[in-house]
């Protein structure tokens, strides 16, 4: 028996388990941030009873959903109704595999990490569509169709904006991409247009305000999640916050140098200390962008469905195309 192979399998199993477990505290922290930041902008206190600064509020919420009755409507399609939350959650959890937390702290260091990420994250739309269809509810159906339309439309500018980055760095591997940024400066200097497109499209992709068409509570009650209760609803909820974390994490890896520290600090250290140092910077940057997304939610109203689609096809897509062509020509001409 090849010892290296065994070690590799063990390492993979350990990494996937860790990532799966990591989704839970991640979601809790993001929910807590959302509760507190929105409360702040609304001149409220927010949760302040359970634990210091109400820190365990979302934990309690988690246990609460576990204890709730798990109801399946009579006319729902039981098999798909049960499967849908799992699909959405796994799409989020699986895409977490390639997130580069720090040098040596990537669960799966694929050489096609970027392709894998967008392929897997796109799976969640299937879960939402299935949830909307299986619920046997008109709001769910409308929400499911909205999610399909929205996520499929925004995936195109989202991916195209990243192609510019890939062309420039010449790699699909997140680790090499960050090493490239270490040598040449953060990608945001090279690809500012791509950054703007990516940010807008990523908000739409993970259904955050102002693009939360899918579960527009004042129109569609809760969209595809209307009929869900208990832990099935909890999984949707989890997946949403994990997706927010992942999108912010991927954005800082693509454009803000991932685990690299900003200028006055040494940008990378060696050994185990280097890993901790990288993780630290990764989380600081990621949570800054999560906070921005939460502030947007507290500030903006929701765009309408036709405005949303118009923006994807009439503005973002052409812009992403132009950006990609200009980048490609520049790479050819200047031999970057």
């Amino acid at each position: 028996m090849d010892f290296d192979l065994l070690l590799g399998v063990l390492r993979f199993l350990l990494a996937t388990t860790l990532i799966l477990v990591l989704t839970i505290p991640t979601a809790f922290v993001v929910i807590q941030m959302e509760l507190k930041i929105i409360a702040g902008s609304q001149l409220r206190y927010g949760p302040n009873r359970i634990g210091p600064w109400g820190m365990f509020q979302s934990t309690i919420h988690g246990f609460k959903v576990l204890a709730k009755e798990d109801h399946i409507p009579d006319q729902a399609d039981r098999a798909t109704f049960t499967l849908a939350p799992w699909m959405v959650y796994m799409a989020a959890a699986m895409s977490m595999l390639v997130i580069p937390f720090a040098p040596g702290a990537i669960a799966a260091d694929f050489n096609i990490g970027i392709v894998y990420f967008f392929a897997v994250l796109g799976l969640s739309v299937v879960g939402l569509l299935v949830a909307g269809w299986a619920s046997y509810n008109k709001y769910s159906l409308l929400g499911g169709l909205r999610s399909a339309a929205q996520m499929v439309s925004y995936e195109i500018p989202l991916t195209l904006s990243v192609v510019g980055v890939v062309v420039l760095a010449g790699t699909l591997n997140f680790r090499e991409l960050i090493e490239w940024q270490r040598a040449h400066g953060w990608m945001l200097i090279w690809q500012p247009v791509a950054l703007v497109i990516f940010y807008i499209a990523s908000l739409a992709e993970i259904n955050r305000t102002p693009f939360d068409m899918v579960e527009a509570d004042s129109e569609l009650v809760a969209g595809p999640f209307t009929e869900y209760s208990g832990m099935r609803f909890g999984f949707f909820f989890f997946a949403e916050y994990v997706a927010l974390f992942i999108m912010s994490g991927i954005m800082i890896s693509l454009f803000f140098g991932g685990w690299l520290a900003p200028w006055p600090f040494p940008d990378q250290l060696d050994g185990f200390i280097g890993t901790v140092y990288g993780v630290l910077w990764f989380f600081i940057k990621t949570y800054i962008f999560i906070a921005i997304a939460v502030l947007l939610r507290a500030t903006l109203v929701r765009v309408r469905v036709d405005q949303l689609m118009g923006m994807a096809w009439k503005v973002l897509l052409p812009l992403a195309m132009v950006n990609l062509i200009v980048t490609a020509v520049a790479v050819l001409v200047f031999k970057l």
């Binding site: 929105i38 001149l43 008109k138 709001y139 109203v301 929701r302 405005q307």
Partner: protein, 424 residues
């Protein structure tokens, strides 16, 4: 030795009734519904054959259309209202508002009550403008009974009524944003409301259903706590309003959601009977306070504000302008307020001479009026209230067709209906 006992069905269900009960219970209809119900199986609507041409039109579906029941339990129907929305994909093709879920028979209750106690029943009608609800009957009964309230009472009435208008309009700003997914402005609206409600509870003793007006005056004189709270509030209210304005007025997404949405021309608005801020937002300068002055409004200086647009954004801007106007009016009222009694001499049980009286006030939602007939007894023979939000709702089915589902709630919120008043 079990003998099968057949329990006779007390309801003696016929075919259609059975199908209806099955649907209500969430079961699939065993037999295909007959006749008038054909085509409704998947909708669960209506529960009886259509009664009118209009109903037949709404409930008959073409290929690709679907009926969606918005309410009575829905996050944004402003109380318990049901909108039966006919949609083709996301596009609304027809809307049928179904009312009556909050009907409490207040008119009948008032006809059973004495003139003094009527004023306690009208409070919960339009629960965001309780002071206006009391103002109109108080004026009508004073006309019937031939009594005039003292000057100071009239000033206090105008003061509390304008305060009520301010908080009602600031809540409307919040609800409008909330129905479009903006979660913050509603909290700012409630901060403003809370301060005013504290003030009004200092003067009347209650926070929501004030029960403050009396025939021939008001219940209590304005006390020190009221004026102290009023002064504090007046010091920062404009800053508060500006804060909520900053979140929504110039917000690009908000503007694109409201400009050109639900445009109601002045002519249509008059034809539909729309009144108040909604009418003035369509460019018609009609304000009861100017057109048919009551109370002390002839003594105050103000212009009728209008907006040219007639769309949701104009209705929103109209509210903002009226908040500022009301604050200006409050300044004038406090400035001119005389001393004296706040209650005229009125017997315990009022028995007006037979006759009829009409009184209209400008409530935050429009023309709120009361028509009372006396037959000489201790209670009104007939007591009729015209609620402005009931009339405003007529505009909704007219504005909806061709819009998206997302706009139904946004446009409805811009009319600011309150179901307590609609259903009475």
């Amino acid at each position: 030795m079990t003998s099968e006992v057949k329990i006779p069905d007390p309801l003696d269900l016929d075919r259609d009734e059975e199908a209806r009960l099955r649907r209500v219970a969430g079961m699939a209809p065993e037999r295909a519904p007959a006749g008038e119900y054909a085509g409704f199986e998947s909708v669960g609507l209506p529960e009886r054959p259509p009664q009118t041409e209009r109903e037949r039109e709404v409930y008959s579906l073409e290929e690709g259309e679907m009926l969606v029941n918005m309410g009575p339990q829905h996050p944004s129907t402003h109380g318990v209202m049901r909108l039966v929305v006919k949609v083709r994909g996301e596009v609304v093709t027809d809307v049928d508002p179904v009312l009556g879920y909050l009907h409490r028979g207040i008119e009948k209750l008032c006809e059973e009550a004495t003139y003094t106690t009527v004023l306690t029943y009208v409070d919960p009608m339009d629960y965001l403008s309780s002071m206006h609800n009391e103002h109109a009957p108080a004026i009508a009964f004073e006309k019937l009974f031939g009594v005039t309230a003292p000057k100071r009472a009239e000033y206090i009435r105008a003061l509390v009524v304008e305060l009520n208008r301010v908080f009602s309009h600031s809540l409307m700003m919040g609800f409008l944003a909330l129905d479009m997914g903006g979660i913050t402005p509603i909290l700012y609206g409630f901060i403003n409301r809370d301060e005013i409600v504290d003030m009004l509870s200092a003067i009347s003793g209650q926070r929501m259903l004030f029960n403050f007006f009396r025939v021939g005056g008001v219940n209590f004189d304005a006390n020190d706590e009221f004026f102290s709270r009023l002064g504090t509030w007046r010091g920062h209210v404009l800053k508060n309003v500006e804060m909520s304005e900053r979140v929504i007025t110039d917000n690009e997404v908000f503007r694109s959601r409201t400009i050109g949405m639900g445009t109601l021309s002045g002519r249509d608005a008059i034809a539909l009977g729309v009144s108040g801020p909604n009418l003035r937002a369509s460019g018609v300068p009609f304000d009861i306070r100017k057109a048919h002055p009551y109370s002390i409004y002839p003594e105050l200086e103000f212009e009728v504000i209008t907006q040219p647009g007639g769309d949701s954004n104009a209705r929103y801007l109209q509210r903002i302008a009226e908040i500022k106007q009301s604050i200006n009016l409050i300044d004038q009222i406090v400035d001119k307020m005389p001393h004296g009694a706040v209650q005229a001499q009125v017997p315990g049980i009022i028995r007006p001479k037979p006759g009829r009286a009409y009184a209209a006030v400008e409530s935050p939602r429009g023309l709120y009026s009361v028509y009372a007939i006396s037959d000489g007894g201790p209670n009104p023979y007939r007591f009729r209230m015209r609620d402005p939000s009931f009339v405003s709702l007529q505009a909704i089915p007219k504005l909806m067709p061709g819009r998206l589902i997302a706009d139904t709630m946004a446009v409805m919120a811009s009319f600011d209906p309150v179901m307590g008043g609609v259903d009475k």
